[in-house]
């Protein structure tokens, strides 16, 4: 597509920079610079409007033509006995290309956000859950309990898009109470008119809180004065409101559960939701999805049956969320690392002595020059693509907003794959 065929102002633009993938942005393009004209937020505006530095492929820090960088990347991967494909911040096409290459080379795949993702996945694999999605929340939810996150930091427009609306399919006078279990958001992060309550709680104590709430919901109050540091009358009142909700939603963001064994916290949350569901409708809403994590995991899952932390080292997909983490594989045997981060130049590869190929958003600053660096375009900015939303249900098309010579991750990986046949 030539530069002239890209309109100066595009509507219905999907934003790839957080898991909500809001698709109502209006973005203007002028001389390759983008400006968000409507529906931006504190994540999307800087991410779209960032000035893209001129960046070139490099081998060992030395600028080279793209073909030379690709050849060197192919050589390193060809010689590796256990290549690791990590970072994996990319779109559908990039995820497909990486999955194919990793399988061909007997590599390991692991997304940069998989530690957070596993806090949810392990619960899915052990006991399951009852969940809902954004449009249901927007129209049905009359009580939102937000646990262990203020949401607004990672998903700035969540409350605006799913809670603040008065009009729903079922009436014009919707009121949705929001209870923060933990810490509330900063005052300026919530749209006006939302009734909120904050019940302070430390993240690691949430599991206990959910357990006590569950016993309260079942009508068997424990003989305690407090639970998880929260006075019992407060918990009793919350349990009563949860039971009285017609469509309650318990929101969490595994990325904010940065404490040991957080999967047990997620599990107790899901058990509480299940208990509430015996008499009313209550659902969980896991918020995730940054740097294409949901997209990569979804693609790899449907192709192979497994998500991140899968090794093809023995010719079959072997999934092991402990052994095949990026950290462990780098420590124990990886002899090449292909690191991908096309949405965020700040997500750089972990320090290691392993020869590293970086497919990074143009302008990525690295403390040490990697063996190979290939600047790549950002999906939804420099090229079209597809990205999954937090709910793993909605996949949205990403638009090309400006002319760019940068290859996409898919194109770069396909070039490497072609160069492999010459090795």
């Amino acid at each position: 597509m030539s530069a002239s065929s890209i309109p100066d102002e595009q509507h219905d633009v999907a934003c790839p920079f957080c898991g909500l993938v809001c698709d109502d942005l209006v973005v203007a393009t002028h001389d390759g610079r983008l400006s968000v004209r409507a529906n931006g937020c504190r994540i999307s505006i800087p991410a779209f409007e960032r000035e893209t530095p001129v960046d070139v492929p490099r081998v060992g820090g030395r600028p080279v033509p793209l073909a030379e960088a690709v050849t060197e990347a192919a050589r390193l991967l060809h010689e590796a006995r256990q290549p690791l494909f990590a970072g994996l911040g990319t779109d559908l096409a990039g995820a497909r290309a990486i999955a194919r290459l990793a399988e061909r080379l007997g590599g390991v795949v692991d997304h940069m956000n998989s530690a957070a993702g596993l806090r949810d996945t392990m619960v899915l694999q052990d006991s399951g859950w009852i969940n809902t999605t954004l449009t249901e929340v927007r129209n049905r939810a009359d009580l939102l309990v937000v646990a262990g996150t203020d949401v607004s930091g990672r998903f700035p427009r969540f409350f605006e898009r799913c809670v603040a609306n008065r009009e729903t399919m079922f009436g014009d006078e919707r009121r949705c109470e929001v209870v923060f279990l933990g810490q509330g958001p900063p005052d300026d992060a919530l749209p006006p008119g939302i009734a909120t309550t904050v019940i302070p709680c430390e993240g690691p104590r949430l599991q206990e809180v959910f357990g006590v709430l569950r016993t309260l919901v079942t009508g068997r109050p424990p003989k305690l004065e407090s639970g998880g540091g929260i006075p019992m009358p407060v918990l009793e009142s919350l349990a009563q409101r949860m039971r009285a909700a017609r469509y309650g939603v318990l929101v969490w963001a595994a990325g904010d559960f940065a404490f040991p064994h957080a999967e047990l916290t997620v599990q107790s949350l899901c058990e509480l939701v299940r208990e509430l569901g015996r008499t009313t409708r209550f659902c969980g809403l896991p918020l995730a999805g940054g740097d294409g994590d949901v997209t990569f995991d979804s693609v790899h899952l449907w192709q192979s049956g497994f998500g991140s932390r899968t090794s093809y080292g023995r010719g079959v997909p072997e999934y092991d969320p402990y052994h095949f983490s990026t950290e462990r594989v780098l420590e124990h045997g990886a002899d090449a690392l292909l690191w991908v981060s096309s949405f965020n130049e700040a997500r750089t590869p972990p320090a290691s002595a392993v020869p590293t190929i970086v497919l990074g958003r143009a302008g990525m600053a690295l403390p040490e020059p990697p063996a190979v660096f290939v600047p790549v375009g950002t999906p939804g900015v420099d090229h079209a693509g597809h990205l999954f939303r937090t709910d793993r249900v909605v996949a949205l098309p990403l638009a090309r907003l400006r002319a760019s010579d940068l290859p996409s991750v898919a194109e770069a990986v396909e070039s490497i794959e072609e160069a492999l046949s010459c090795c």
Partner: protein, 556 residues
């Protein structure tokens, strides 16, 4: 390139060919008439002693979309027992109950299947369904888009909208989601569950909209008919799995008011309440009703024993079924004011009374429905069993002695409640060819598939004749897709990517104004990003052609 398959015994029911020795010729991916004597045959396959059929078509198999990916994510332990190693031509993947898309495509092709249809595409999840089907190699694919619990339709119906407006919405949905048919799952029930209703009978009013499942079946079957779709409304009826649901099932047939209707996985909807345990077979009454109503067709949804996973849009019933999960885990999801999904792993046990009777009920239906063009061979993969059990199921249909031997091993109380042992019918190869190719192609409107006349697409399966049909149907000698040899002796030799099949019925674009407003007011994605383009389909499908089948409007 001219290819010849010589001397096979051909079963081609669409053309009335019943076990005749014939030569087939293929050029440029299609069957052609016998060439002149002077034309050079580039490649010849000696099919002497072999059985030749068109490639098989599965009209109801859950191979792609969000609920299947949830099922995959939930079951690493199941995948680990069935890992597929990389070969020179195929990629590594994993199989069994919820196989990876790569494994699914390879295994379908290895069994001689050349087309598969995903019967539960949520409109809002259609992109993912097509991405997954696009990553399913070799076979052709298509989806049935789910309506009937989506708030837009229910709002239209509650407001007393004219049928013409419903038709426009149905047609727009098919266009936007690139699907080939309309499916309804527990009509209105998935929505009612969101209002905390736990059960829904055919004439129960929806708690908010006031419409009944019967209204929904009538309205949608009429829309499908008037829009000129070939495939009838594909109905997963209310009360799945509930003892006594035969009444609902018979009522659902009547709700179509004589228009074409397809009742899917009817085994799960053919239960009576007789006997000490208040659970019995209603297969005879259901089959009799089908036999007497030519507008009704069904697929069976046979269960077979062992571990599997049930994945359905029917949140209302899956929420109940979660109590029987094995292993004990379940996912239930409300989705986007569009529908929902429920995923529950399940192990069918031959010593269990209910499971044993379910097995018998499915087979009773196969054997009691007279017209093989109106009963289709499915296990509702993976809900009754994984599709890899089809050869075993075919043997159960073809071999009465084998069937009765299996029956004798089952729960005795269940044996006492089934007439299966008295049914002598054995399916012929000709009838199996009807069930698995000719009839699915006809009911889906795939004019150039499912048969072997000149002009048909050269999707061809050649089986070595063997006394045991299970062995015969497990590993065909050769499978050709679009004239290319893709599998030999049950092993993939070449990977291709198949095509998508869809319909694009016409509609009054005025409906788009309404929809745009609806999306703007209530949804979290924009109307403009909802519709899937042809270019997207090509990209999802590794360059797959999108075949849009003709629809001709019919008057009311």
């Amino acid at each position: 390139m001219l290819l010849k398959i010589t001397g096979g015994t051909v079963y081609d029911p669409a053309n009335g060919v019943n076990g005749e020795v014939r030569d087939l010729h293929v050029r440029d991916g299609r069957l052609v008439a016998a060439p002149g004597a002077d034309e050079r045959i580039d490649q010849e396959y000696d099919a002497g002693g072999c059985v030749v059929m068109a490639g098989a078509i599965d009209l109801h198999t859950h191979i792609g979309g969000g609920k299947m990916n949830i099922a995959r994510a939930m079951l690493p332990e199941d995948h680990r027992g069935d890992l597929l190693a990389r070969t020179d031509v195929t990629r590594a993947s994993s199989g069994h109950a919820a196989p990876g898309t790569l494994a699914a495509g390879y295994r379908y092709a290895e069994m001689g299947y050349t087309a598969c249809f995903e019967p539960a595409v949520l409109p809002v999840n259609a992109r993912q369904a097509h991405m997954e089907m696009g990553d399913t190699p070799i076979v052709d694919k298509g989806g049935y888009v789910m309506l009937g619990s989506d708030d837009f339709l229910l709002r239209l119906m509650a407001s007393g909208a004219e049928q013409a407006l419903v038709n426009d919405y149905v047609a727009w949905t098919l266009n936007a989601t690139r699907c080939i048919a309309i499916k309804v799952v527990n009509p209105g029930g998935i929505s009612a569950f969101k209002f905390n209703q736990r059960q829904m009978n055919l004439d129960a009013k929806h708690p908010f909209y006031g419409v009944t499942p019967r209204d929904i079946v009538r309205t949608l079957s009429r829309a499908v008919y008037e829009l000129g779709l070939t495939h009838p409304l594909h109905v997963h009826a209310s009360n799945l799995g509930v003892p006594g649901n035969e009444v609902t099932t018979l009522g659902t047939m009547a709700a179509a008011e004589g228009l074409p209707i397809h009742l899917t996985h009817i085994q799960f909807h053919s239960y009576g309440t007789e006997g000490d345990r208040k659970f019995s077979s209603a297969a005879a009454r259901i089959a009799e009703a089908i036999n007497g109503q030519p507008n009704v067709s069904c697929d069976v949804g046979q269960i077979l024993f062992g571990q599997t996973v049930t994945a359905s849009g029917d949140t209302m019933m899956q929420y109940q079924n979660a109590a029987h999960a094995h292993p004990r885990k379940a996912v239930v999801m409300d989705i986007e004011c569009d529908a929902g999904c429920g995923v529950v792993p399940f192990r069918y046990r031959d010593r269990n009374f209910v499971n044993a009777l379910q097995w018998a009920i499915g087979l009773e239906i196969f054997l009691l429905v007279d017209d093989p063009w109106r009963v289709f061979l499915t296990t509702d993969h993976p809900n009754g069993a994984p599709f890899t059990t089809y050869p075993h199921l075919i043997r159960l249909l073809m071999d009465r002695t084998f069937r009765n031997e299996r029956l004798a091993l089952l729960n005795p109380a269940a044996q006492a409640l089934t007439t299966l042992g008295t049914l002598d019918r054995e399916y012929s190869l000709y009838e199996i060819a009807i069930l698995t190719r000719a009839a699915p192609a006809r009911i889906l409107g795939l004019a150039d598939r499912g048969h072997l006349a000149p002009g048909a697409v050269a999707d061809i399966t050649v089986y070595r004749r063997q006394p045991d049909p299970e062995r015969m149907f497990t590993a065909p000698a050769w499978v050709f897709k679009d004239g290319e040899l893709v599998a030999r002796d049950g092993r993939i030799v070449q990977v291709t990517w198949g095509r998508y099949h869809a319909v694009v019925p016409e509609y009054d674009p005025g409906i788009e104004r309404r929809l745009r407003e609806y999306f703007d007011r209530y949804h979290t994605i924009g109307f403009g990003n909802f519709r899937i383009t042809e270019d997207e389909m090509t990209a999802f499908g590794h360059g797959a052609t999108l075949v849009n089948h003709a629809c001709t409007r019919r008057s009311a």
